[in-house]
Symmetry: C2
Subunit: 254 residues, 2 copies
């Protein structure tokens, strides 16, 4: 079996930590990485602080196969991600000739100091195309540096998607229980998990229209084993007097 | 000047990392903490893995004044947060008598092994009231353990809000620029930031109706200094041919 590839997302931005802005990149990247068979193992949201960025980068790039950062690569004084990546890798922070060419071609006589700062990158950076607003992201080793604006972050991810090495994707199937809460079946569910050691059963309670329900999410590499666990879960819910609702399947159709 | 109090939010949940669920607690806690004058310095989303939870807890509780966790305190086999908190603090994991009493009173003859597991907590835990679904959260030292379901997490935060010690809140004012992007004024903005060293100017570009704009967010302890910076920013935007739009003020009215 292939090694599971892991990833970490670093969201760099005071605006998320102040509550001013709702993050819109985490779920997108999480979903896309899962689809590629890459396990998103951690997300960190950190402030626009050089020391914090360097510490998080060096910890995460050693620990995970891929690190994706969002935010802090614009043209203003508070955009310090690129310079911090250079410091984390201990390389020069300098104008990238190809990025400079791209920005000059785009801005023409509207090129100015602020905009041309977006051509400054860690030495050795490989550019990541930005089809939305031109100024490129970049990659150094296993660190991918994206813009924070969601439409641009997504476009940059699309640019690199085909180059990412994933593992086998999991089959994921959800059975929702209405009328039977997780507390009513928790002990039987624990036994059921023990009986199905090759799948992972997650139990996610929800509150809807005043009543509690629970989504039981079964993940596994083998479609038949996932299916067998789901059938047992369905029996468990119905045996407890509830209604089992077949949810979506991801990864592979049943 | 009082010490700035800092906080960290630990979101514990595979369902966020798989992209299945959009987190709905980070922005709420960020906003509420900011309002209390507590700086949310970091957020981590980690998986339902005992080793990961213990490592993150021990790192974050040493680094920040407050740690708030969400997720993993329900009644099923995948709810391992409470036991992990006990291990992180090196204390026994045992039935909390008051939590047991609350759960027995609530469930009556529907109490069962799974539900009574929710009375198990680290020795010495102080209960956090749960007005939504009864099973309490808890606090050990500076670690506050909340449920993941947003309506419950919010209710638990409301329970402890009055006990949290914040610092002075900042005045925050936003000036939005339409027709002038951050790249056009980035260099002048850097100079403006240098001229106003006692405020923090954040520059957040956005894409709306096909055009770029930028929100310039000014933060500071002193209302008059924030106001002065905002007036200069307004002048900068209008001088560059754009339209400056007064945005919301938080913390204190101008």
């Amino acid at each position: 079996m292939n090694k599971t590839m892991t990833a970490c997302v670093l969201v760099i931005g005071n605006e998320i930590l102040s509550g001013r802005t709702q993050d819109a990149n985490i779920q997108y990247l999480a979903t896309e990485l899962t689809t590629l068979g890459i396990r998103l193992a951690e997300v960190r949201v950190i402030s626009d602080d050089e020391g914090e960025i360097i510490a998080a980068l060096n910890s995460c790039r050693a620990k995970f196969d891929y690190v994706f950062t969002t935010g802090g690569i614009g043209s203003t004084h508070d955009d310090i991600t690129a310079a911090s990546v250079a410091k984390a890798f201990g390389v020069a922070f300098e104008t990238h000739p190809e990025a400079e060419r791209i920005l000059l071609a785009h801005y023409g006589d509207k090129a100015n100091t602020a905009r041309m700062r977006m051509a400054m990158m860690p030495r050795g950076a490989e550019l990541i195309d930005n089809p939305v607003s031109t100024a490129p992201g970049f990659k150094v080793d296993n660190v991918y540096v994206f813009a924070g604006v969601p439409v641009i972050a997504r476009a940059m991810f699309d640019t690199v998607r085909a180059t990412l090495k994933g593992g086998p994707t999991l089959v994921v199937h959800t059975v929702s229980s209405v009328g039977v809460s997780e507390g009513m079946i928790g002990e039987d569910l624990r036994i059921l998990q023990d009986q199905h050691p090759n799948v992972d059963i997650g139990s996610y309670p929800f509150l809807k229209s005043g009543g509690f329900g629970v989504n039981l999410v079964v993940r596994g590499a083998d479609k038949d084993l996932v299916k067998a666990a789901c059938m047992d879960i369905q029996g468990l819910i119905e045996g407890a007097g509830g209604t089992a609702i077949e949810g979506e399947t991801e990864g592979e159709e049943f």
